[in-house]
Structures are given as structure tokens and as C-alpha cells.
């Protein structure tokens, strides 16, 4: 339902992605991984029409996303960018209410249906007890759930998430990922997310897409993608791939000496740096 065709993206003459092809099927849960600067967020921006491609087209339901009315796209597709900002004195309810924006008439008047949907979105993400708190006073995990509730209030068919777990503690990370998994399973929302943690990506996604050198290096099920060769080739880390018997997915652990040690003390460091400490 979301398709990138021959997509070239960049700023000026500096292309970040070249001739990229990607198809996201309805109901899929896709994790995009790759090294820093490989264009993961850029790809997500293009898929969400925040950024115009230099060449190529993004199709949503078979039609170019830029040719469609942006409000009707907004009723199908929601984006949660990295570290979004919110004015200091907006409450959670204020924030989530803006999810109804694409469904409202020109005067932005909320109807009973809209209030119900906002209530439901906050209940579904279990933040209803926070609804009158100011967003700026929430913890990182609560805040991320508030943003997810905003996206949910949009009633999207597709949800794009840019590193939804970054800056969260491990408990909140899993809470957010479980929430995303259930949105996909229970509500059939197609999810495309950029993740940094490859093991989390392997555990929570149905399809993994690996970006390297401006195009899709490999895509497939986590079992197909998580191999020692792929991780070594893309991330330059030697790993051992194991099977997680609880969650039935692959995971890896880095081997000792898996990367070259980046510290080179040298004779000058030995003589001077260490010398200064002892003397």
C-alpha cells in the first residue's frame, strides 16, 4: 500500500538515497535499520511527504502521495518524528485532540465523534489518567505514549515512527514496542519504523529493511536478514547469531574483539599522558 519507486533523495547535489525501491504491504510491521547517516530518517521523511524526492515517486494506494489531497493522506497516514516539540503549557488532552485535525471541518470544531476518538486513543495507550497533565511535565515514556495517542487519534492505516525508543529507558522502550506491536496486530495498522537497536528490530518486526550506501542492501524476515555476514558487512561488527527460544526470533551478541579498538595510545601518550598522572 506504500511504495517507493526509483526514489532519489538528498539535499542539493548531495544524494543520500539513490534509486531506492521499497514496497510496504498492508498489515506489515517493517523495521528499517542501517548505520548512522545511511538515510533511514530521510527515507521516512520522503514516505511521509515531509520531503520532496529529487527523483522518483512515493505511491500511497497506487497514487503519488504528492498528487493527493494532503488532508485525505493525513486520514490514512500518521508520522511520529524524532523528538517532536510541544509548547510548555499543552496538556496531554490538548495534544491528542490535534490528532483529529484532518477529520475536522474548516472551522476546526470538534464533534462528539471526535471527542470519543480522543478519549479512546488515550485509553488505548493507557494514558487517560494523565490527560490533564502538562506534556512538558511527563516522563520520556509517558510523553512518547502521548505522541502515539495523537497519531492514533488520527485513525491512520499506516504509522511511520522515527526511532520511537531513543532516549527511553529499557522498560519504556519495551512498553512502546509492545504498544506498536499490538497496534499492528489488533488494529491492523501498517507500521514502518526506524530502529537503532537491531535485536529489538528483529524481535518486533515482521519485515526488516537494511539500508547501505544509499539503497536497500537487504530486506526480508528477521531470520533472513539477521545473519553474521549481513551484520559484518553493514555494521562492521563480528557477531554470533542465536535463536531466542522465548520470542522465536533471531538475536546476536557481538564477539570479543569484534571491532578494531579505536584507541591508539602510541608512545607519545604513554610517555606524556600517563607520566602526568603518576607525577
Amino acid at each position: 500500500m506504500l511504495k517507493a519507486d526509483n526514489l532519489t533523495l538528498g539535499y542539493g547535489d548531495n544524494f543520500i538515497l539513490r534509486d531506492l525501491e521499497l514496497t510496504v504491504e498492508r498489515g506489515d510491521l517493517v523495521a528499517i535499520i542501517g548505520v548512522n547517516g545511511s538515510g533511514k530518517s530521510t527515507l521516512l521523511k520522503a514516505l511521509s511527504r515531509s520531503m520532496r524526492p529529487c527523483r522518483g515517486v512515493v505511491y500511497l494506494d497506487g497514487r503519488s502521495i504528492f498528487r493527493q489531497d494532503t488532508r485525505s493522506v493525513a486520514r490514512k497516514l500518521a508520522i511520529l518524528p524524532q523528538a517532536p516539540k510541544v509548547p510548555e503549557d499543552f496538556t496531554v488532552r490538548d495534544l491528542v485532540s490535534y490528532g483529529r485535525q484532518p477529520h475536522l471541518a474548516w472551522n476546526s470544531r470538534m464533534k462528539p465523534k471526535d471527542f470519543e476518538m480522543v478519549d479512546w486513543a488515550m485509553a488505548a495507550t493507557r494514558i487517560d489518567y494523565l490527560q490533564h497533565r502538562l506534556v512538558s511535565t511527563l516522563s520520556g515514556g509517558e510523553r512518547q505514549k502521548a505522541w502515539l495517542a495523537l497519531a492514533l487519534a488520527q485513525q491512520p492505516q499506516i504509522l511511520l515512527l522515527d526511532e520511537p525508543t531513543t532516549f527511553l529507558d529499557i522498560g519504556c522502550q519495551f512498553e512502546v514496542l509492545e504498544l506498536v506491536k499490538n497496534l499492528n496486530r489488533e488494529l491492523g495498522i501498517t507500521v514502518v519504523m526506524v530502529l537503532h537497536d537491531i535485536n529489538q528490530a528483529a524481535r518486533y518486526s515482521k519485515t526488516m529493511v537494511v539500508l547501505k550506501d544509499g539503497s536497500v542492501y537487504k530486506s526480508g524476515t528477521p531470520r533472513e536478514v539477521i545473519t553474521e555476514e549481513v551484520i559484518a558487512e553493514v555494521f562492521h561488527v563480528r557477531v554470533k547469531v542465536l535463536e531466542d527460544p522465548d520470542n522465536h526470533c533471531p538475536y546476536f551478541i557481538p564477539l570479543s574483539g569484534s571491532v578494531n579498538c579505536p584507541l591508539e595510545v602510541g608512545s607519545y601518550g604513554k610517555d606524556n599522558f600517563l607520566d602526568r598522572r603518576s607525577g
Partner: protein, 348 residues
């Protein structure tokens, strides 16, 4: 106590807080409206001839004759109303610009309104002084043209607020150089220009009121209608796009509206820079940053502040009148700093 019960208590507590917040906002709004009316009556009441407030109200509300009524209807009321309208226009312009640029330093000056209108006015007053009556339309056009220029120069695959601000600063400096050059080259004609450059309300009358009110009315109505969109833009471009807002087009419309509001005010009373910067901040500290409340509240506080300051400007050194721009800065800045340092609790 179970977790659910705790949750219930918290929901109850926060429901009270939201009710309090709404009550607080509406109370503050009524206070501001009261302040606005009080400023109007005081402004009409004080002057070379002191007219008691009771007489002012009587003269405003009923027919009659006499000196007081003449003074009020022919001199003071039009001037006070112009002050109020100017306050509304500049404040709304500032609120809109600070909102769309998500920058607390944004003000009508940043989109070239001051420098554009200033240069246009200076050209007329210094180079073509015989055409002094063209100052108002030319200042208006100059302000609007400067905005368009800044917008075009900042355009590069869309408008980035930071680039817009920087290009605004650069263009303003450039036009400012033109203003200064003209003032240096024609030192004998500078005096006529000064009152425009600091902004003043002396001798403003019904004529000016009739020019200004349609712009104020249309601008205020437009600002009220699109205030929810301004809230969405506050969430950042990406979220706004995700929510189906045409960000570029909306931002352009807002800039045009802000420029129109400020240009109409500046062309009537000269460059009153401070109002558009500070009134939005003062109002935000009082009522919060939800634009559905902030926009009407800023209009009210802008109008009251300017009417009050104009009263002071007329009275403080009577019979000499001080330009209102100077009073604005002298009184407004300390008051603003007082609010900033926690004079009013802004937890609402």
C-alpha cells in the same frame, strides 16, 4: 488501595484542574476586557482639560452639547480609538509571527514592516516633502513590499523560520542604511521624520480611524478563525504535515496577515516597534500559549496597553507631549521583566 482506585483519584484531581484552568482563562479574559474599557475611559478623561470619568461615560452614551462633549468626540475619542486599533494590530501581528516562527524574538520588525515603512516614509518626508499626504499609503506599501522581499529571499525549497528571521535582519539592516543615509544627507528635514520613526499618536483623528478599522476588523477576524491552525504549527512542521496542514501555504498566509496588520498600524502612527514584541509575551505569561485564547487576549491587552501608554504620554509632561513609543518602552520593559521573573504564576 488498588492501582485503578489511585488512577480514579488522579483523573478526578486533574478534572478539577482543567475546570480551574478554563475558569482562570475566562476570568483573565474578562479582566483584560475590563482593563480595556477602563483604559479607554481614562484615556478620554485625562488631558489638558480634565473631564471626570462619569462625564466621559455620559458623553459617550448620550446626546448632549457642551465643551466636554466637543473635546471628547472631536479630539480625544478618535485618538484613543486609533491607539486601541493600533495596539490590536501590532499585538496580533506579533503573536502570529512568534507562533509560526516558534521564536520568542519574532516581531513585526523581523518581516521588514518597520524598515520597509520607515524607508518609504523617509523618502516621502525628506525627498518629496510636498507630497506628505502620501506617507500613509507609501508606508503601507513599503512595509508589505519589504515582507515580500524577505520572504522571497528566504525561499529555498520552502521557508525555514530561521532563514526567514536572518534574511529579515539582513534586509532590515539594508533598508535601515537607506533611512540613515537620507537623514544624514538632509539634516534640516530630519525633524519631520523623527516623529514617524518613534511612533506617535499626536493629532490622530477620525480620518485615521476610518482608514484603520477595516484592516483591524478583517485581520482580527482572520486571526481568530485560523488560531487552531497556529496551534498545530506550534507542534513542528513534520507533525503539522502529518496532520494534513499545508505548511508552506499556511505559513505564507500567516505572514501575509501579520504584515497586513502591522503595516496598516505602522502607516498610521509610525514605527511602534515594541508593542508587537512584548504584548504577546505578557499575554502568554498571563493566559498560556493556546492561540484560541492567546489571540483574543493579546488583542485586548494590546489595545489597553497602548491606550494607557498614550494617556501617560499626553499627561506626564503636560503641556509637552511625549511620543507614545518612548512611554511604551519605558513602562513596558520593566513590567515585562517583572512578569518574566515570576510576578505572575503561569502554571495555568
Amino acid at each position: 488501595m488498588g492501582r485503578a482506585a489511585v488512577k480514579d483519584i488522579r483523573v478526578e484531581a486533574s478534572k478539577t484542574s482543567v475546570r480551574e484552568r478554563t475558569v482562570y482563562r475566562l476570568t483573565m479574559m474578562s479582566v483584560l476586557a475590563g482593563l480595556c474599557i477602563a483604559s479607554l475611559v481614562l484615556s478620554v478623561s485625562f488631558g489638558a482639560l480634565h473631564i471626570p470619568a462619569g462625564e466621559v461615560v455620559k458623553a459617550l452614551l448620550s446626546d448632549g452639547d457642551g465643551v466636554n462633549r466637543q473635546v471628547i468626540w472631536n479630539i480625544r475619542l478618535p485618538r484613543t480609538l486609533v491607539a486601541g486599533l493600533v495596539g490590536i494590530c501590532l499585538s496580533l501581528s506579533g503573536v502570529i509571527l512568534q507562533g509560526i516562527m516558534r521564536n520568542p524574538l519574532a516581531s513585526p520588525g523581523i518581516i521588514g514592516v518597520s524598515s520597509g515603512s520607515g524607508l518609504a516614509a523617509v523618502i516621502i518626508l525628506i525627498v518629496l516633502p510636498n507630497y506628505y499626504y502620501l506617507v500613509t499609503p507609501f508606508a503601507f506599501l513599503g512595509a508589505f513590499a519589504a515582507t515580500i522581499l524577505i520572504y522571497l529571499l528566504a525561499w529555498k525549497n520552502g521557508i525555514n523560520p530561521m532563514r526567514l528571521i536572518l534574511s529579515g535582519v539582513a534586509v532590515s539592516a539594508f533598508l535601515g542604511a537607506g533611512i540613515n543615509a537620507l537623514m544624514i544627507l538632509f539634516p534640516d528635514r530630519v525633524h519631520g521624520v523623527m516623529s514617524f520613526m518613534v511612533g506617535g499618536l499626536a493629532a490622530r483623528t477620525w480620518k485615521h480611524f476610518y482608514i484603520l478599522w477595516p484592516y483591524t476588523l478583517i485581520g482580527t477576524a482572520a486571526a481568530m478563525v485560523i488560531s487552531p491552525k497556529l496551534n498545530v504549527l506550534m507542534l513542528g512542521d513534520e507533525i503539522a504535515i502529518s496532520l494534513g496542514v499545508k505548511v508552506e501555504r499556511t505559513r505564507m498566509a500567516f505572514i501575509a496577515l501579520a504584515s497586513l496588520l502591522a503595516a496598516s498600524a505602522v502607516s498610521i502612527v509610525g514605527i511602534l516597534g515594541f508593542v508587537g514584541l512584548i504584548v504577546p509575551h505578557i499575554t502568554r505569561l498571563i493566559i498560556g500559549s493556546d492561540h484560541r485564547y492567546l489571540i483574543p487576549a493579546s488583542a485586548l491587552s494590546g489595545a489597553s496597553l497602548l491606550m494607557a501608554c498614550d494617556t501617560v504620554a499626553r499627561v506626564i509632561m503636560d503641556p509637552v507631549e511625549i511620543p507614545v513609543g518612548i512611554i511604551m518602552a519605558a513602562l513596558g520593559a520593566p513590567f515585562f521583566l517583572y512578569l518574566l521573573r515570576g510576578g505572575i504564576k503561569s502554571d495555568a
